[in-house]
Symmetry: C2
């Protein structure tokens, strides 16, 4: 479609900006409904947020979910998803969906064979078959998957790469972004550009300045939470987010811990995704108002108190810590299910509270109190 | 409490008897509510029906569930369950619950060390620790677990055992039943006697005649579905159920396939339990109105039809066969969850239809049609 495409399917309404931080509260209208921002998207890699039904995600407060293009392209393949009318029909999620480009997994999960400005050649981590990805193909697959929000193919170099290599990745990402923009044919999908540049402010600026002329309907910050310290991530956001346009949603990819989300909102980020709530939940670790709980710990053996007394989810209102521990000790599926459900609820509750703090103009105070609370319960 | 205890907490109301078969429809009132019979109890071995929340069991139509005393006694131990006010509070199931005596697992799962009329000595299948079970201890543990319906300790010999050994198991079971009866202290639990005797009508009669004087509030038929043919099971039921009192519930332990349940109801059985719907569900096998479906089969890869067009469960109304297959191929937890939920719904629907056929006086016709249908879809 090229630039200048009609984005009438989307509208980003900025509802409030915090007086003391860069925090924002908004509402992003998509073809599958509105999302309150800041928003946290549970990760449904293969068209399912592991162990949970769509109705349970809704009950937990999730409004938008993420699917991984790399995984879905390999299994079941984009054609089968498209036959279902896209991911929405396939996984029975009628709210907004975001897919990534697949690039991150090609670099982190697959066996990378060759990369050029033209394309990436790799081997599938499932059966070793040789495949290739181009910017055009990444958009084409995402059009078949049919998410509301799709991502440009980017190059995400590992943490600790030399500035020269990161600069080349930035330039390639800019080149690919233009090709993705040109390849897009659907007007009902918001294609986001991805800012790269590692932890180098000047490279982040270079990346943003390369993407902004393409006038994307939203921008993602990629290449963070890949091994750098939290402080370096916050520093990088300090030097990246202010360059991005105010009136468009900003998405911090793959982040992160609850404190990272709070710090990133304070720096102007609107959207998040992370496997942490579900992955940790499956591994018996719960985020609670009283700090992290490792439910397998024997101190919970006879504990009849709820997992989190402040939480209203099924795990916390219907069961005891003793029962939840028993489920994990006995290797029962219901343990991972209930802790995943709880952790998603925890994340959704957190972003809702952050949003309310922004709207109330008290995000700085909320941040102080919340950080002190997390510090008291490490 | 000894015999003559007040069973005012329980009432078995016979609502209808089929004119052409021995089928019955009833309503069994327990301290935790009523159960329509014929009833199928999903198996929650360790205090959870694998992968499903209590609310999902309710939605599937289940009214009563089963817990396994052997497993719960080892993990988390009866004290912890008792601290929760029993299994009801522990697993958040407020409807009726049945526990077995633990004997079956001691014989089938544990490392059996020594058995006498006095007690059974065995090693835990989890940590090898040496434990023993007596009739008194089996009742005591079940009183701590607090189910509505509990079972006498019985000896269940393997299929193919000599008649002489089976006769001795019958006599020991009778002896133990009297000791269980005497050991019981709670009036809000219905203690069932268990009829043993293998596939030998005269030994079944011997067993029943030993138990009937103890005037249990209900009787179980044990020692079936342990390797004998379906025909031998039906033959045995033909010679066992008529000896049991009409006004009390009859429970066929561990049975079985849908056709076994139908045949057993036609022979006068009221209650059933079996791991088959959940175990098969976890292994990608679904019971459907069109016969068994192995959802991993590649013929389902692009099949957008529902798993079972006649079923109203979440798996069948919200997802396609193609999606369900994808979940199993990708090893996603939601696959086992959804097929377990469907199979439980299938079993509950089956016993409800059987019950309606009894009430309508048309069980013989229902049986013919249903068996023909199963035969057409083997």
């Amino acid at each position: 479609m090229g630039s200048g495409k009609d984005m009438g399917h989307f509208e980003f309404q900025l509802e409030a900006t915090d007086p003391q931080t860069a925090g924002r509260a908004g509402r992003w209208i998509t073809p599958h409904g509105a999302v309150n921002t800041p928003a946290f998207m549970p990760v449904g890699t293969l068209g399912t947020v592991k162990g949970l039904l769509p109705s349970q995600l809704r009950d937990a407060g999730a409004q938008m979910v993420l699917g991984n293009t790399y995984h879905l392209a390999l299994r079941p393949g984009p054609e089968i998803v498209a036959d279902h009318g896209g991911l929405h029909g396939f996984m029975d999620w009628d709210g907004p969906i975001l897919t990534d480009s697949g690039g991150f997994q090609v670099f982190s999960l697959a066996d990378l064979r060759k990369m050029s400005d033209d394309k990436v050649v790799f081997r599938s981590h499932i059966d070793g078959s040789q495949l290739e990805l181009t910017p055009e193909r990444a958009v084409q697959i995402q059009e078949m998957l049919g998410a509301d929000c799709i991502m440009c193919l980017d190059e995400c170099p590992p943490s600790g790469e030399t500035p020269e290599k990161i600069r080349r990745a930035v330039d390639r990402t800019t080149l690919w972004a233009a090709r993705c923009r040109d390849a897009q044919t659907r007007a009902d999908q918001a294609l986001f550009g991805i800012v790269q540049g590692g932890i180098h402010p000047e490279l982040r600026r270079r990346s943003a300045e390369g993407l902004l002329p393409l006038d994307f309907p939203g921008y993602a910050v990629g290449g963070l939470s890949v091994g750098e310290s939290p402080e370096m991530m916050y520093f990088t956001l300090d030097h990246t987010v202010p360059i991005l346009p105010t009136g468009k949603p900003r998405y911090l990819m793959g982040v992160g811990r609850p404190e990272d989300i709070l710090e990133a909102v304070c720096r102007g980020i609107d959207m998040f995704d992370c496997v942490m709530p579900t992955r940790n939940g499956r591994n018996a670790m719960a985020f609670t108002s009283q700090g992290p709980v490792r439910i397998r710990n024997s101190i919970h053996q006879k504990d009849q108190s709820p997992l989190d007394p402040e939480c209203l989810c099924v795990a916390c209102t219907r069961f005891t810590r003793s029962y939840l521990r028993h489920l994990f000790v006995a290797k029962e599926m219901l343990g991972p299910i209930l802790l995943s459900l709880h952790n998603i609820t925890y994340y959704q509750t957190l972003v809702r509270q952050i949003r309310e703090a922004v709207i109330g103009g008290r995000l700085a105070e909320f941040r102080l109190n919340q950080l002190a609370r997390w510090k008291a319960h490490p």
